[in-house]
Amino acid sequence: MRIVIAKPGLDGHDRGAKVVARALRDGGHDVIYTGLRKTPDEIVRIVNDEDAEVLGLSTLSGAHDSLIPKICQKLKISGLSNVVVFAGGIIPDRDRSDLHNSGVRAVFGPGTPTSDILHFLEEVKSRKNKHQEVGVGQDPGWHWN
């Protein structure tokens, strides 16, 4: 799959994003990394121009509850409702349900084995093949964790 890994906001730590990008590459995916400090508008344009199927958002600054719903909303109004969104970084458990409600399908915290993310993507693929909705703007019923 074509996957964009993005760093929204002012957070300048991207070791985690790079580890994930590498793991996905080794899992046979085409991974596009955006670099640091992207605005929601920039991220949405990158997802569009790269025609990505999946967007992974990495944030460690605590701004996830403001930035991630904003990005999800912008994807929906830009005709990108079928893009699958997952998040990673420092995200407290209590914030997860809000993210799920925004359309995020999985949240991966510190200590997650990279194989978990690959398994998530396999599940996404098999659900897509069965025409089940997994996109950010589609039926929010299912999420991975």
């Binding site: 085409d30 955006t34 670099g35 990158i46 121009d49």
Partner: protein, 297 residues
């Protein structure tokens, strides 16, 4: 197939009307072999090639700003290698093109080189024609980091910039034959680092050995943005070198031929037979070519 072609045609139509989502999906469609009817008119293309780490992406980032000021719409097709082990890729050229994300007048598409020889997929030509018809006036192709004789880019770009860096003295000597002879523009990046001036001198010395050599060796710093305006004006005022038509066609022919072979449905079977020694390379070529012809691929 007809359905997919119709879809490609529809995407092309709305991309021409300025719909960015359609343009992006059109690129994917071309990548998967569903190509709309294109006019294949002359389009403005520049290949940017050079060794890995020399600063191609960073330089492109700088060039974007200059062309935007001049009112151009800039599209970039950025190639990065596909892993021969996993089949995946890490496409990070755009990380160094910060300027690209700030404007609607810039379109960056990262492309995995796939198993294509020369690191250039043969659908790149169609992508350029489509972008041109959709109103992109500067189309840049960034190659994967290349060596001395990676000249496939000449099959796809009308003009080519070779970018080099400091501390590559011996390689400069070795590059006398090959890409250095063909490049329309030559630049040494990293003028902010020691050794860049002597790299320029080395290149000039090498070029000076040929008669009628008119090419200038530019010294730039993609990091600091120096020397870029001069390079842009050289590129913009350059007439297309039509004497290379045969070289271009040769590279395009080889590229398409390779792709026929690499996309042969039985290629893995032939590779296994070659490994076990049950057929020779000539046997493999003969029967693969026969199969390609009989299928009219």
């Amino acid at each position: 197939m007809a359905l997919e072609l119709n879809e490609a045609q529809e995407l092309f139509k709305s991309a021409k009307n300025g719909d960015r989502r359609s343009l992006s999906r059109l690129m994917t469609s071309i990548e998967s072999g569903n190509i709309p009817n294109l006019e294949r008119k002359q389009c403005w293309t520049l290949g940017i090639t050079g060794p890995p780490g020399v600063g191609k992406s960073t330089l492109i980032g700088q060039m974007i700003s200059h062309w935007l000021v001049k009112g151009h719409r800039v599209a970039i097709l950025a190639l990065d290698p596909t892993s021969p082990v996993s089949g995946g890729s890490f496409l990070a050229d755009r990380v160094r093109m910060d300027q690209a994300d700030l404007s609607e007048e810039v379109f960056v598409r990262s492309i995995a080189s796939g198993s294509n020889t020369g690191g250039i997929p043969n659908y790149l030509g169609e992508m350029c024609f489509a972008l041109s018809e959709c109103g992109w006036t500067r189309i840049l192709i960034e190659t994967v980091g290349t060596g001395q004789y990676d000249i496939r880019i000449f099959g796809y770009a009308q003009r080519v910039l070779l970018l080099d860096g400091p501390d590559r003295g011996d390689i400069i000597q070795a590059e006398k034959a090959g890409i250095l002879e063909l490049a329309d523009f030559i630049a040494v990046n990293k003028s902010d680092l020691p050794g860049s001036e002597s790299a320029v001198q080395g290149l000039k010395l090498s070029l000076g050995l040929s008669e009628n050599e008119k090419r200038k060796v530019h010294l730039v710093s993609a990091l600091e943005g120096t020397g870029i305006a001069d390079l842009i004006s050289t590129i913009d005022s350059c007439e297309i070198n039509d004497s290379r038509r045969k070289i271009r066609m040769r590279e395009m022919l080889i590229s398409n031929w390779d792709s026929l072979l690499l996309n042969h449905s039985q290629i893995d079977l032939y590779l296994e037979k070659l490994c076990s020694g049950s057929i020779t390379v000539n046997d493999a070529i003969n029967s693969m070519v026969r199969e390609i012809i009989s299928r009219g691929e």
